[in-house]
């Protein structure tokens, strides 16, 4: 077990900057998730860490040792690949024992540790089989066991669940979490699935265009996205964004959208007038006004475009001026397409962003 220090790591593919001077400190025993859309450089960063890619700049330090120039086998890492990469010409036992044999561990010790690893992943009964005789989920377990029996200082996982079907993915996700609690090895986990990131990570590094745009614990990444990108990438449905204005009247500054003054206490004291209002679907209350003409104060009028029941909730797509918003309501909320509703934003959940840069405005 060890901590990981990435210092200004850079990786180019031809003229394309895949990883742009990323610095990141991962604590001992921490579960760090690298999250981002495809092509954001997360896998490349992991491969630089593993030594499968040669960095074009910067340093990789594992447990205090500068391993920047070390080959993958000399870094004390264990890696789980997206395609499992289980050796098809070896039995499950030989697959798990492969790394130990490379280290010239005695055969009695190999027997013991493979047994241990197999037990941890619950594949004891499969040891004599060949990978072709296994299901995808079982192969994944073999791949994880193979990495774990090495007792690596750092465990690296590259989208390990993305080839599994949905139900199995859910189950394996729980298994990985349990495994991390038992083994407690420093783990770096790459995924494009925000739910996986939120459920597994001690911390999440959200990546875009080769850089880390936000590094924080899951709750804060979800509640306080650092940029418009993070807000729209995490959450399903993602965060809503609509244009807002800050107006001064009688010396006080207030936030307005669609001509409605919002109850919001975090208006910045100075600066810009145009802002972007970010709010998550579950933080918007939807009201129907039965009495004609009775307009609720501080509520935003909206037209319902689509109604989708999604099991525990109803998902509404509504139109506010030029913006389209997603909001959730209880299942029993009776509403039809084309109907007019009123939206009320939870003032403590509003996140203001700069409309030009997309960066969050500190309030």
């Amino acid at each position: 077990m060890a901590d990981i220090q990435l210092e200004r790591v850079r990786k180019m593919f031809g003229k394309v900057l895949a990883v742009a001077d990323v610095s990141l400190h991962i604590k001992e025993g921490e579960f760090m998730v690298l999250l981002g859309p495809s092509g954001c450089g997360k896998t490349t960063l992991l491969r630089c860490l593993a030594g499968l890619e040669r960095v074009d700049g910067g340093q990789v330090i594992i447990g205090g040792d500068d391993v920047t120039d070390h080959p993958p086998g000399k870094r004390g890492i264990g890696m789980v690949f997206q395609s499992y990469a289980v050796f098809p010409h070896m039995t499950v036992f030989d697959n798990i024992a492969f790394g130990l044999q490379m280290q010239r561990v005695s055969s009695a010790e190999i027997q013991r540790r493979v047994g241990e690893g197999a037990e941890l992943l619950q594949i004891q009964q499969l040891l004599a089989r060949y990978p072709a005789q296994l299901s995808g989920g079982q192969r994944q377990r073999v791949a994880v066991a193979r990495a774990i029996v090495m007792r690596p200082r750092v465990l690296l996982m590259d989208e390990p669940l993305s080839n599994l079907d949905a139900l199995l993915r859910l189950q394996m996700r729980g298994e990985l979490k349990r495994l991390h609690h038992e083994v407690r090895s420093t783990t770096v986990y790459v995924t494009h699935d925000q739910v996986e990131a939120l459920s597994l990570g001690d911390r999440i590094a959200v990546m875009k265009d080769g850089t880390i745009v936000q590094l924080d614990i899951p709750d804060r990444v979800y509640d306080l996205p650092a940029t418009r990108f993070v807000g729209s990438f995490i959450g399903s449905p993602p965060m809503n964004f609509l244009e807002g204005t800050i107006r001064s009247s009688n010396g006080a500054r207030a936030l307005e959208t669609a001509g409605v003054r919002l109850e919001f206490h975090g208006v910045p004291a100075r600066g810009r007038d145009a802002v972007l209002i970010g709010i998550r679907p579950e933080h918007i209350a939807v009201e129907r006004v039965a009495v004609a003409g009775g307009i609720p104060a501080g509520a935003i009028p909206a037209a319902v475009v689509v109604v989708e029941p999604i099991g525990p909730q109803k998902l509404l797509t509504v139109q506010v001026g030029p913006s389209t918003l997603k909001v959730t309501t209880p299942v029993d909320f009776a509403v039809d397409q084309g109907q007019r509703v009123w939206l009320r934003f939870d003032p403590s959940r509003i996140r203001l962003m700069d409309p030009q840069t997309g960066d969050a405005i500190a309030s």
């Binding site: 499968l52 080959p71 890492i77 890696m79 395609s83 492969f98």
Partner: protein, 271 residues
Amino acid sequence: MTTPGRKALLTVLVVLISAWVLFPIILIALASFTTRTQLYAWPRSLVPSPFSAETMRFFVQAQDVLQSLLNSLLVAAMTIVLAVLIGAPAGYALSRFRFGGKEVFRLGILGTKMFPATILAVPLAVSFINWNLYDTLLGVALVHTTLALPFAVVITTSVFVGVPFELEEAAMTLGCSRAQAFRKVAMPIALPGLAAAAIFTFVLSWNEVFAATILTLRNRTLPALVMNAVGLAGAPIDYRFAGGFFMIIPALIIIFVIRRYLLTLWGVTVR
């Protein structure tokens, strides 16, 4: 077209093509087991009676046949070793690396097949005399290697494309060097495909007659010997049939053995 109609057409085509290939082979096989007197008799029955190994025995015992059989095997062995040693690394590189001029290289390999060997015959013979390679088995093996290399490269490329690089990477993260990862993981998985390439090379070398005839005098390979015996010495008809059959056998056996591998190979290439 309706499915039954299509199926009937397909069946007819399969029968026609099979007959086209099989008919001569069957005729030669039958004749090889007919006695010499019967071969010259007229009218002659198609099916040998009595069934006799006399003709085959005559061929095998004919002058130089056993020696040239040995030569053929030696040349084929050398060709296989050379073609796989040179071809497999090229195939590996083509399957694994991106490099400038890769497509040109790939086409260039096939382009060598467009060069008629006839044009090369005289300069090749002269060069081989200068290099003391003329009338040696190594010389023939070198030419066969050149002929076999394009196939060896193309086949091994598709073999290695079928072995995911991630497997080698996984081996490297488990403590292997690049070379060890190749030897312990990529190589064993690729072995059946490499064997197919080797066998293909064998068939090519075994059947090659032109270069072998031109570049040898005393150290004939079997096809060159038979060619010479038939063409120049006017060998008797039973010698011809027996020789032909004798040379078909290995090719037939091998095609049966590698059929499965060839199919998987094509499966990989199509992917």
